[in-house]
Symmetry: C2
Subunit: 261 residues, 2 copies
């Protein structure tokens, strides 16, 4: 809500402007063109971008390659403000509410699958330097960031992870990262506070070039064949959740920065 | 954006209050407790309710029976403001963008399935009298409303419907309403501007008691068995879209008023 608080904070300034010029038209112009003093998003843009976010988060939009230019400030405000944290907390609460209804057999076969990037780990420090998804993907700078192994945990997900562990779920991590990044990924997960996962599954040589939705479905299918019951699955991408061998319940975390098919 | 415009509209009032009392604390109290002068939603509630809406519209929440009490004003503002119309327009645009990519064979087998209530028809006049979904479902008053046959079209959906018709799709209407309401439903659809559907499918005696997601999946499966390719499906409920025999692409319309399993 940072932007709304900012709006209230600039109220005296706006009214001062109006009262000194005694012109109603200035306030009207301000009303039409400015939603937030913080990022100078126009009201029309905010309406549009809120609808765009609905469209991408429900997957109505299907594949999309870039944030609409008029929504770049909106996405930055969303990702750096309270709403993103609040939304991800809500998803974690939904997930935990379901997890508590699962009868854990105690044979280690009751599983939960987590994606990693923008699900367990937040790459916000990286995206803050790279236009919050509005810049074209750059493999070099991304790899440099990954090798730092310093991505923080998404707080709500870390909390959920520990709750699921306590409930007795067997936790699998299923990521689109490649095997060459196994060590740095493990290092980063430990750095961020995660531990005790059953298995970290990364793309091997035979997975190269597969769409994420196929690769992840195949890996879930393998887990099923091994005898695991996948009760829940958490991911910020629909390709983490849809396809085949889907979990009993899937939990979509927010991510208006990028789309992986 | 009605509520945000209202906020700007009450700016002079707030500042007047502050300047006459010369007390900064009043403005601070206002900042903490009020998001919108229109409905008196507190900032904390707006953050919470926006997250709740994310949770129900992505289906992360799964089944839910009632709008949280603190979100009743939020839902009313959403449904009666510009955001609901804007969101449904965005969904219609997503749907049309996909529909245009479909190669229509011309044999009448390329199909699109629409739900009716809160998809083609808007029952907002009814819900405005019944707490926007916050009141317990009342079959008598609902049936009286249905028999009026005066629900207006959701504008974006009427536009999409006509566009799909022009593209050559065969249109099926699949509703949870029962056969006893066939005549009034047809009457209402025509009143609202819809025509030329291939078939209106309502719950028959053998469908009674089935969860919507099962009933609708079975009916889509029947259409498939008849040789139709269901390219798209539009509905405000996840039970319109998920299950089996799902469409190639599904389009979730907004509805924070109620959930049908």
């Amino acid at each position: 809500m940072a932007s709304r608080q900012s709006l209230l904070a600039i109220v005296p300034f706006i009214v001062c402007l109006v009262s000194t010029t005694a012109s109603q038209s200035i306030l009207q112009v301000t009303q039409e063109n400015t939603f937030s003093g913080h990022r100078n998003i126009r009201i029309g843009d905010h309406l549009y971008c809120d609808s765009w976010r609905f469209s991408v988060e429900t997957n109505d939009a299907g594949y999309w390659s870039t944030i609409p230019a008029r929504c770049e400030g909106f996405v930055e405000d969303y990702m750096t403000g309270e709403q993103y944290l609040s939304d991800s907390e809500f998803v974690a609460e939904d997930s935990f509410a379901f997890a508590k209804t699962v009868e854990i057999a105690g044979d280690g076969r009751d599983a939960w699958v987590f994606d990693i990037d923008e699900t367990l780990l937040s790459n916000l420090p990286y995206y803050a330097e790279h236009g919050f998804g509005s810049e074209t993907y750059d493999e070099n700078s991304w790899d440099s960031w990954v090798y730092l192994a310093e991505a923080p945990a998404l707080p709500a997900s870390l909390n959920l992870y520990k709750q699921l562990e306590q409930l007795g779920f067997t936790i699998f991590l299923l990521t689109g990262r490649g095997e060459s990044q196994r060590n740095v990924t493990e290092k980063n997960l430990l750095y961020a506070g995660f531990s005790n996962w059953e298995r970290l599954i990364l793309r091997g040589p035979s997975d190269e070039g597969k769409p994420a939705i196929v690769y992840k479905s195949e890996k879930r299918s393998d887990l099923r064949d091994e005898g695991y019951m996948i009760h829940g699955s958490s991911g910020d991408q629909w390709s983490d959740l849809l396809g085949f061998a889907v979990a009993r319940r899937s939990f979509k975390l927010p991510n208006p920065m990028y789309y992986i098919a």
